[in-house]
Amino acid sequence: MADGNGGLRLGERIGEMATRVRGGSVWESMFRPGSPLKKGYSDSPRNRSYVIMNSVLYHLHPVKVKRHGVRLSYTLCLGGLSFFLFILLTITGIFLMFYYRPTAEAAYLDVEALSTSVAFGSLVRNMHRWGAHLMVLTVFLHMSRVFYHGAYKPPREFNWVVGVVLLLLTLLLSFTGYLLPWDQLALWAVTVGTNMGGFTPIFGPGVKFALLGGIEVTGNTLLRFYVLHVLFLPFVIVIFMAVHFWRVRKDGGISGPL
């Protein structure tokens, strides 16, 4: 529609430009065949398959799933939400790393400054903390859901074992992160937690010593927990997650092979 000056309305101009961009060779090259973002995408069974097969992210999924598996009440999306929370925690965690130094002198002040003088700092820290609690919860509930469906039965026994390892790693990630604010809550919760682990008869005291970098929680512990929290444990958990997802596809996911 023309306005008083005979030009096109802004909306129409944008629409026209979008059409030109979507028809251009640059845009064309960016997306694999079947992408819904590509120009001329049409809803066909072939394209529905391509959307999954030709996407690096989506191809974790099979092209087709059993109809009853799609029902929200069947899985409650707990496994997927655990994974999503892990990604969310990674993103917020990277943000927090910009403002945090893992030393006994600086850690507490950095967290305090983050909460008061960094844009969105408080919100991101809250999201990181509550998200971590939620992830422990969703992983645990995911395990319960899998048990009640009997989804650990052959041929999926080993994926259950991998899942239990993932639960343990999730707890360790949460526990190592617990110390990092270096306040009274962090210090004494970790003291109590590592004391409990120290009761293990043979290797308990040794593990406790290695974990704490001494016989009690000190500045060394803070550095160890920091490295474990931001590097070592995420590295290990990503490997186990890759195996977990792979085995879901190979051994069968939602009640039977997909």
């Binding site: 929200l72 809250n126 903390r129 707890l171």
Partner: protein, 316 residues
Amino acid sequence: MVDIPEHLLQRSAEARAKALGVPVEQVLAEMRGEAPPAPSAPAEAPTPPETAAVVEAPAPGDPDATAEQTPAVETKVVETEVVGPVETPEPEAPQGSLAPVAAPAEASPEVASPPSPVSGGDAPLAASVSPRPVAQPEAIPEGVRTQRLLTVVKARAIQQVKSSPADKVNTWPHLMIAEFTALLVMTGFLIILSVILQAPLLELANFNATPNPSKAPWYFLGLQELLSYYDPQIAGVIVPGISGLVGFMAIPYIDRNPSTKPSDRKFAILLFTFFLAGSATLTMLGTLFRGPGFNFTYPWADGIFFDDLKDWVDFG
């Protein structure tokens, strides 16, 4: 040697019977090694003894006659060739009658009166056939292509096809939309939560001021609760280490019941539910009902002694 599937044997026999103008049953029996080969009539076969030569003569009783023809192909071409028509064999092969497509020279005496279908060894028939006669390679008629069955590989030996019809839907859009919605809801929930509830930050860590009570993170509080009842060796090692970790990993190897129906696995569900209820109870007790000195308190009377989740339940 693999067993040749029945339908393949049948099809091969039909093609061969059609080409040679002999009954299917006869060829079939011959392929199975149950009966000696019958004479047949290839094109331009002038004399009865030579017409019989086209069909090879496996030893009676040899079960792998068909497949064992293969090595002989290189040396005696005619013996191992199965003469078949170009078109695919029809299911109705000539039985006791002449096959019109096979060859023009089918009027030889043997073919005109084909032997009756035999199931077992037929002594007089076997006697009439010369064991390994010589035949001309040019006995194959025009427009007829030669085929030979080398071997039959069962599909099962290489790959297992386990597709059974199932009610499936496309992941895109049906599953992805549900997942994306769940993702958005979770993000929204987390942001709202983070705006409302402030993450706790107490005073600076102080080694000389032990808070009373000192509590672990909430997911370890069930264990801490256990520790207040039992010896550390039991509560700190046997319960979490053995029953918790090792026991959990071993579940699929202990529970050998293949059924996933809840009605078939009442005991497993009962046990797991007991575990869930127990750990939830212990965690709640440790979080809410333990005060100074880790003694029992009532949260509604004395308040909550757990700084981490205090905001969740104690807005005042």
